[in-house]
């Protein structure tokens, strides 16, 4: 049994959403799924801790992509959570027997096909199940190049992991798609929403969130071990956990390029180019940080904070001008 719409993706949720919707007959790229749901963001949440480090996200919270796409495509998704693993598995088997392709939220840690070094307790990983053979589920995990298999016990454990963002066995299916094509107006609305988010008048979100993080970094003690862990953590959230590079900026640039054709607004292609350059600056920040973590360069929080402030300034201007062009 194979799944024709498995495509390797940068990010789990945009990958799952684009593969699932393509399976239902509306071909949509990962970048379009990501942009159309206005998933790009920045958030620095010092009060939510994961292994003692603050939550730093370069995108909207989990499920925002699926919900945003549902809205943009007038689609209906059905979400179900379960009290017990047994009920969750029974329902999954029932849906598969009816021929559905089912989306799941899982923990990364308990998925045996993940590389050992990448298995952390992160609970908002998305994947698709397209079949079952014996005791194995057939899985299209978009961050994996090929489709994979996972035994029932491990998958059940991954679906019912506890902690921050506990999935509670969440599964979802597409009930119907209201539109068979992406409308230019939906694309414009999504871009405007992202511009609003990035320049929101909240201290922890968007450009202001980047500045607040910069201020926090500037105050770190250059000699403390915790400083190295903190700045290393920023780079992990930006590069390592499936963002397509530069904290989703390259992925969003790909969306803007596609949107330029779809909306017949060639100016968007120039914004895509510009965002690629901003993404390169994020990569430079990651490189400078990693060199300090590895002690190839002296730890210099002030310098890293300066790079973040510079990025905040560039993104502020970028989204301000993007908004002016689209509205």
């Amino acid at each position: 049994m194979t799944f024709a719409h498995h495509r390797h993706a940068a990010h789990c949720e945009s990958g799952v959403a684009s593969n699932l919707i393509s399976h239902h007959g509306v071909p949509i790229s990962e970048a379009m799924a990501f942009g159309l749901s206005a998933a790009l963001s920045f958030a620095y949440l010092p009060f939510i801790k994961l292994s003692g480090l603050p939550l730093i996200a370069y995108r909207q919270p989990p499920r925002a992509i699926i919900k945003g796409l549902a809205k943009a495509l007038a689609a209906k998704f059905r979400f179900e959570t379960f009290r017990t693993p047994a009920a969750g598995q029974a329902r999954l088997d029932e849906l598969l027997a009816q021929g559905h392709v089912v989306g799941l939220q899982t923990s990364v840690y308990w998925l045996p096909y993940f590389p050992e070094d990448m298995r952390f307790h992160f609970n908002a990983h998305n994947l698709l199940v397209y079949g079952k053979e014996g005791n194995d589920y057939l899985i299209s995990d978009p961050v994996s190049e090929e489709t994979v298999r996972c035994d029932a016990a491990a998958l059940s454990r991954a679906r019912f992991a506890k902690g921050v963002l506990a999935p509670k066995g969440l599964l979802y299916t597409v009930e119907k798609l209201g539109q068979s094509a992406i409308s230019p107006q939906a694309v414009r609305n999504a871009i405007l929403k992202t511009c609003r988010t990035m320049r929101a008048p909240l201290p922890i979100v968007g450009v202001r969130g980047i500045r607040m993080l910069a201020n926090k970094v500037a105050r770190l003690d250059p000699v403390a071990h915790e400083t190295s862990l903190f700045v290393g953590h920023i780079v992990r959230m930006q590069e390592e956990i499936g963002t397509g590079g530069a904290g989703f900026r390259f992925l969003y640039a790909a969306f803007l390029q596609e949107a330029a054709d779809l909306t017949a607004m060639p100016a968007l292609a120039e914004f895509a180019e510009r965002l690629m350059d901003i993404g390169d600056d994020w990569r430079a920040f990651a490189l400078a940080t990693a060199r300090m973590v590895k002690k190839r360069d002296a730890m210099n929080p002030e310098k890293l904070a300066g790079m973040l402030r510079n990025l905040a300034g560039k993104e502020d201007a970028f989204f301000k001008e993007l908004k002016a062009v689209v509205s």
Partner: protein, 131 residues
């Protein structure tokens, strides 16, 4: 980032997997490319892993010198911390901290042991000693 600049550095943390990143091809189109990793990612992932390994090793030494119970070792060995183990088992943090004391751990009821073992993905026997 252009296609020829996409790092292919063979990160050991990827365990042979490839990840998709987005870059510009020769025609200026931004496309997904499979990358074998960037050293920057390997450095920060290794850093997080080493931190977890250091906590695990410190707990192991404490268990060996009789200052803590194997429960603390297994918590870190499973890449968890106290808040996560508390959420997973539904046992309050202060009670778990108490169960880190070897004498108290040795007297735990089978029911409580089973909750820990389930959360850690171990049998009770495995959990009661170091590997």
């Amino acid at each position: 980032m252009d296609l020829q600049n996409v790092p292919q550095e063979g990160n050991k943390t990827l365990g042979g997997h490839k990840k998709a990143v987005y870059a510009r091809d020769a025609g200026g189109h931004i496309v997904a490319v499979a990358s074998r990793g960037w050293e920057v990612e390997e450095i920060v992932t290794s850093q997080a892993l080493e931190q977890l390994q250091a906590l695990t090793e410190a707990a192991r030494q404490k268990v060996l010198s009789g200052l803590s119970s194997p429960l603390e070792y297994w918590m870190y060995a499973r890449r968890m911390d106290l808040p996560l183990l508390a959420q997973t088992t539904g046992i309050w943090r202060w009670r778990i901290r108490r169960h880190f004391r070897p004498k108290i751990f040795a007297r735990l009821s089978p029911g409580v042991l089973a909750r820990y073992a389930e959360a850690l993905g171990l049998t009770i026997k495995e959990m009661q000693r170091l590997p």
